[in-house]
């Protein structure tokens, strides 16, 4: 089984008390399966997604779907995560920071909601790829370029755009670059945060 989430809860500690964003969720996902989580704004889809890879954002706005962020544990500091999360049989919920870092990007790909703000404005597109790839694998420049080409081709973005800065790309291209970045290392799990919203 690819993804196994058992009794996962995410609570936020706020001044008004405890906010129960996700209150006991069970999800089981096999390889090649796609799970779509649909719900009203603020029902906790986003938080659940953030909980798994342990990267909780600081002030999570509970609107839209940030479900995926829970998986790579990208939740803010005031969030409390409980429950078991297993990826390919490995227990993510109890991993240390460095192990988690290695899994993010390599095993778990994440496509963010807003392509305008999810790309670093002072880095060229190719630099985004290079830092991602070199943080996980020891490859030489040519091999890195190969992976980049492949990824961009898969999403239909011309390779020439790699040398540009994000603000020079159209909204649609940026979204596709985000997907390419998520897939470049061929992760086994892909989490997409409302990927069709421009």
């Amino acid at each position: 089984m690819l993804l196994d989430m058992e009794e996962v809860k995410v609570y936020y500690k706020s001044k008004g008390g405890l906010v129960r964003a996700v209150d006991g969720v069970d999800i089981r996902l096999e390889k090649e399966e796609i799970l779509g989580l649909v719900g009203e704004s603020g029902c906790g889809k986003s938080t659940l997604g953030l909980a798994i890879p342990k990267l909780l954002p600081k002030n999570a706005v509970l609107s839209g779907s940030t479900l995926g962020l829970a998986i790579p544990k990208l939740l803010p500091k005031n969030a409390v995560l409980s429950g078991k999360i297993l990826l390919n049989g490995l227990e993510i919920s109890s991993m240390r920071d460095e192990e988690l870092r290695r899994i993010r990007g390599e095993e778990i790909g994440f496509v963010f909601q807003d392509p305008m703000t999810s790309l670093n404005p002072v880095l060229k597109i190719e630099e985004h790829f290079k830092e991602t790839i070199s943080s996980h694998r020891k490859l030489d420049d040519n091999e890195i370029e190969e992976l980049m080409r492949e990824a961009l081709e898969d999403v239909g973005v011309p390779y020439s755009k790699a040398k540009e800065y994000p603000h020079r790309l159209s909204g649609g291209q940026r979204q596709r670059v985000m997907i390419a970045l998520a897939l470049v290392l061929k992760p086994s799990l892909l989490i997409a945060d409302e990927p069709t919203v421009p």
């Binding site: 990208l74 994440f110 963010f112 999810s118 404005p121 991602t132 943080s135």
Partner: protein
């Protein structure tokens, strides 16, 4: 737009600024009450001498004539002649410029490296004891008068520990041959190790003094900007892709955070110049700052005016340079 075009426009825009500054200097030195000639010669000087000096300095011409002569001279790089030494002021200033430059560069380097590092580390550990102590440090260092810090260093390292010299740029008769005027560079070019080490010994205390005081501002700015940048989505995105944390902080985040800091470098430069005057005086460092103060003491009107004009032009130039660097780093700025 292309970087080249931006540079051109920015340089053109600096001309009114320089003009304003030069006019302000003129106003201060000529129009403010107080007869410079009396100040120079003293109240008991014989009237013929006073008249002679007035003629020589061109103070009898109507104000607007003086103004145009002043501007005209400046365009040709003529800053007049020193009343004290009779030499060309521009020559004297250019002679002393490398000393100030060397001090400034080393101090700024210390301030930047220390300041950015502390600012970044402080932002990563918000509200922890480390963060608080770094913030206290930056507040304290701002409150310490540069000259007092310098004096304390002189006491500790010069008097009590006796390990470092407390004045001058180099030991007597050890100056390397003058190629750039920067002793560190010149001594390397000459392969003169002793001169190199001696220069460093003399540089340590003054640059440490100035560098530490300037670092306070850098810490605060870096910290504030980093805190803002670290909240951004693209940082979260980098982490989600498993980018190594050191890289997320020191490349992805810092590159964004430094842009406003570099803009602030212009302001920093002004602080640097002011601080350099005090540092040079404290350590008897033979730069433009100590030149200015010394000549004020001698009532050398032309020299004083020349030095201030020099500062004005320097400040304007650096301001243009900083903007150009910003445009280079942040591609969005070029419209």
């Amino acid at each position: 737009m292309k970087l080249r075009d931006y540079v051109l426009i920015r340089v053109l825009l600096s001309i009114p600024m320089i003009l304003i500054l030069l006019s302000v200097v003129f106003l201060i030195l000529r129009v403010i009450p107080g007869d410079p000639v009396v100040a120079i010669l003293g109240p008991k000087a014989p009237p013929e001498q006073v008249e002679e000096l007035r003629e020589k300095l061109g103070l009898n011409d109507p104000i607007y004539v003086q103004y145009f002569k002043y501007l005209g001279g400046l365009i040709r790089g003529n800053l007049g002649e020193s009343i004290l030494t009779g030499r060309s002021v521009s020559e004297e200033i250019l002679e002393r410029f490398p000393a100030t430059l060397e001090l400034s560069i080393v101090s700024m380097t210390i301030a930047s490296l220390l300041g950015v590092f502390l600012g970044v580390e402080s932002s990563r550990r918000r509200n922890t004891p480390v963060d608080v102590s770094i913030r206290v440090y930056s507040l304290a260092i701002y409150s310490i008068p540069i000259f007092w810090l310098g004096l304390m260093f002189q006491l500790i390292f010069g008097k009590y520990l006796g390990v470092l010299p407390i004045s001058g740029r180099i030991s007597p008769l050890m100056e390397p041959e003058r190629i750039t005027g920067l002793y560190l560079v010149d001594s390397i070019l000459e392969l003169n190790l002793r001169a190199f080490l001696d220069s460093i010994e003399h540089l340590i205390l003054p640059s440490l003094t100035l560098g530490l005081v300037l670092s306070g501002v850098v810490v605060r700015m870096t910290r504030a900007n980093m805190l803002e940048v670290l909240e951004k989505d693209f940082i979260l995105a980098s982490r989600a892709r498993g980018v190594v944390e050191r890289r997320v902080i020191y490349k992805d985040a810092l590159k964004n955070a430094l842009i406003p800091v570099i803009t602030m470098m212009g302001l920093q430069f002004a602080l640097l110049m002011g601080g350099a005057v005090l540092t040079e005086t404290t350590f008897s460092w033979p730069g433009i700052g100590s030149y200015l103060i010394m000549r004020i003491g001698y009532r050398d009107f032309s020299a004083v005016q020349g030095a201030i004009v020099f500062y004005a032009i320097l400040v304007a130039s650096i301001s243009v340079l900083v903007d150009i660097i910003c445009a280079y780093i942040d591609p969005r700025v070029r419209y």
